[in-house]
Structures are given as C-alpha cells and as structure tokens.
Amino acid sequence: MSEILVLVEHVDGEIKKVTLELLTLARTLGEPSAVWAGPGCGDAAKAKLAEYGADKIYVADSDEVVNYVVAPKAELLARLVADKSPAAVLVASTIEGKEVAGRLAVKTDSGVITDAVGLGEGFVADQSIFGGGVNVRSRVTKGTPIVAVRPNSTAPVAAAGAGAEEKVEVAPSEAARAAKIVERVKEEKGARPELTEAAIVVSGGRGVGSAENFAIIEKLADSLGAAVGASRAATDAKWYPHQFQVGQTGKTVSPQLYIAAGISGAIQHRAGMQTSKTIIVVNKDPEAPIFEIADFGVVGDLFQVVPQLTEEIEKRK
C-alpha cells in the first residue's frame, strides 16, 4: 500500500474532527501518514492520530511553521512530497486548507481538487457544483494528486495504525516568511461547535424577523449540540453575525443534519448547504423552494414549531 499524507488541522493541541475523517478516508486508499505543522503535538494527540490509522506522524515542531500565513505549511508538505513520494496529499477543504493545497499544487507542479465530498479508487473525487445542481467526478492527471475534502464527507472510524513519530526539521524560506501573523484574536462564540465542522447545523433566515428572535434558533441548536447558521437575509439585516452566513458567498456546510427555519431556500443559500445528509425545514410558506430539498418539512409558524421541537428534544433526552 502506498503512503498518503494527511495534513492535520489542530487548534491549541486539539485535533479537529475533519482530520480523523481524512485518516479514515485515506485508509481506504493507502497508508495514512499524518503531518503535524507547528508545536503542540503531545502524547494525547499522537495517540489519537494512531487510533485513527496514522502509520507515521511527521511532526514539524516549530513556531516558524505557523507564524506566517499558509506558505510554510505548503513548503513543509512540498518537502515531504519530494522526500516520501506519497500517492496523494489530503487536506481539509476549509478556507485555509484550500490555500495550502493551492500553493502546494504550484510548488509540486501537481493537480489539485477542492471541495471533494467523497474520494474513491484512483483518487477520483466527488464534487457537488453550481449550488448542488450538478454532480461531478474528477481526478488529478498530473503530479501528486492533492485533494481538499470537505468536513463531514465521511464518518470517522477508529482503526489503529503504528503512529511512528518522525521529526521534520523545518526552516521556512524567506519568501514563506513574507506575511507574518502578529496576533491571533479569538472571538467569543461560546460552546457551540464550529459551523463548517458541526454534525448538526440549525439556521435561521428572514422569517426569524429580528436579532432577539435568534434566541429560539440558538436554543434549538443547543438542545442538539449543533452550530448556528444564518441565511444571507438574516446576516444582511444584522440579526446574526456575518461569519455565520451559510451560502454561496458565505460558509459551505455539509452536516449530517441541517435544520432551516424561516429560510426560503434561494440558490444563494442552497449552494452552501445542499450536500447536507438530512434536511429539515420549517417555513410558513408552502411554496418556499427549500421544501424541494427537505427530507422532512413543517409548513407552519416557526415561532410555534421551533420552541415545541426544542421542548420535545429536551423531553426525550
């Protein structure tokens, strides 16, 4: 079996779920090697990577790798591609993951596929494009396939790997140190999961009517341990912060369960959520296009239906 590099996404030493998904996926196609860029790869992290099948763990334990925008990570991966000749490189299809993939593709003169929602034999990637209207299967035809895979594309399954650590000495080039991160600012967003990673997302739209009313969307989200999203109508009206916008010009989510309340389902919104596995809709307009993609829909007043649903979920816990 051939080696597949998986770039680990981590925050404060914690591995993000998407990395476990990528390891799970990589196991079906070869032998995954995790690549840890930056400090913080402790014993618990290494154990977790091994638990999900990492045979090797390349650790570039240096602040230099993470103190500059994207470029040092691409250099690190390019070096590993040159040294190890992997069959493919997988990264998370997050905004930063895609940028790493892009620079790596230029450096290694290799093809890159972004926003994959599945990956099969021969590294043929499934993509859903044009707002979910067209399904595409693509493959890289030059160099080392670089594939950015969306979070929630597969369920993480544990299967132990050797987890052998190999330290990688890195010194980013001068060019890679051109854009320096001088401060990281964490914005408070409570205990909810990160929007693009969440297994469940509850979103509110125009029908929610005000910033205050978003409390009922948040309560439903919290009853399910879900992230909160918002349609463009809601973020444009400043009812909910812009970084939570799901849609064509906002975040793309692909959760197990997506609940849309008071959202009509314009293409603008559907482009950001149409690959969700199960979709529940609450809307008072039976003609709302969002019902076309609903697995379960309630035609009714969200101010009645959503609190009742929240109460019912709490009751059944």
Partner: protein, 259 residues
Amino acid sequence: MNIVVCVKQVPDTATERKLRPDDKTLDRDAVDGVVNELDEYAVEEALRLKEAHGGEVTVLTMGPAKATETIRKALAMGADKAVHLSDDALHGSDALSTSYAMAQALKKIGFDLVILGSESTDARTGVLAAMLAERLGAPQLTLARKVEVNGSAIAIERITDYGYDKVEATLPAVVSVVEKINEPRYPSFKGIMAAKKKPVEALGIADASVDASAVGLAAAYSEVAEFAAAPPRAAGTIVKDEGDGGVKAADFLASKKFI
C-alpha cells in the same frame, strides 16, 4: 500606489448553470455573465486605497471577449484603466494554468498591490490568490476583512475559524478580500459615461509571455471524468402544522436516531 484588481466574469448565480457536454467546461455562452460578486468588494477596496493614498487602479480580467462587460462595470465604479487577457488558447484553463497566466500578466503590468475577491461563485475553489502569491513570490494577505496601508507597510485582518489573525507584510503584496469588508459603490451615471472612454488594453498570451502549451483545457492538471445533473432528492415528508408540528419533527429526528 499601483493597484491591480482582478475581476472575473461569472454566470449569474440566479440562472441555471451547466457544463458543456463536449469538453466538460462551464457553458459560458448559455448564461448571462455578471461580475463575480466578491470581486466588487475587491474593486471597492482598491478604490478606497487609491482615494486614501493616491495612485492608480488597473482592472485585470482573463476571459472571452464577452468579459468586456465586466471590465466596464469595474471602470464605471471608478477604476482608471483595464487590461483584458484574452486568447482562445486560454479556454478551459484550470486554477493552476489560470494562476500562471494571470501571474505572467501581472508581472507585465507591474503592481504594488494585487487585490482579488476571496473566491468566484462559479468554480468556488478559493485558491487563486494563494497561487498568485506563490507564483509572484509576494506576501499572501488573503481572506482580509480589513486592509491598512502605511507607506510600504501593509496590515490586514485575516478571518479564521476562531476569529481573525492580524497579519503584516511589506508591499508588493497579494490581497484577497471577503464579503462585507466594505459596501461596494454603485456606478454613477457619470461613472458609466466616463468608463466608455477609459483605456482597455487587449493582451494576448504572447504579449504576456504565456506559454500556450501551459494553458487551456489540454494543459489542465485535472479532468472531469464524468458529470450529471444531481438527482432530485427523494421527495420528503411535508406536514402542515396543526399544533403538533414540533412534535412531528421530533418524531422524525428520533426515527433517524438524531435524538
């Protein structure tokens, strides 16, 4: 300050977009072209930086003849001139060859600052700015929600999962902007009239020292193996709320083991 703002003509997202059956590229003839929405924020940011610091704003677009409409829109907003990189050989270029051709054009034009939208609404790869930074050897200041220039120093706020990073670099640099960094202005009547007289330089691939064998569909680094219209989702169950809509939704969640 010499600012080049890259804009792309994309199909209107409100229309049905299709791939061409013959070469599996986006069917651009079948749909109305509009300025990629996120690029309007890039144009606006370029104009604001020019207004604050002086200089000139050049629009660069790569695309077929039809993309001239997009150039006119950016000029009507207030950009000074435009360069239209256009050549039949470019048709079907993927992100890698697009970034190569654009980088060559940018080298020819010269720049202190390149500004782009963070992604296009058609391909949505979100990689072009990073690739340009790589190819140009310029600092990558992407996903900016705020841009500040002070002499040759530039600082941005780069959005992240947890909030944002403050990032600093020295010009020349490549910046991509996210939605809501500003409110793009509407072209005024005067602006629209003035745009008709502004220079648009046509650039072929030879003019930009672009190797024809490195661009276009034949040079693509990936291929679409197959594509199909997404099958409609199986019709779901739609109920009318009779006072128990929330309970029924909970029943559905339970049947799917979500609760």
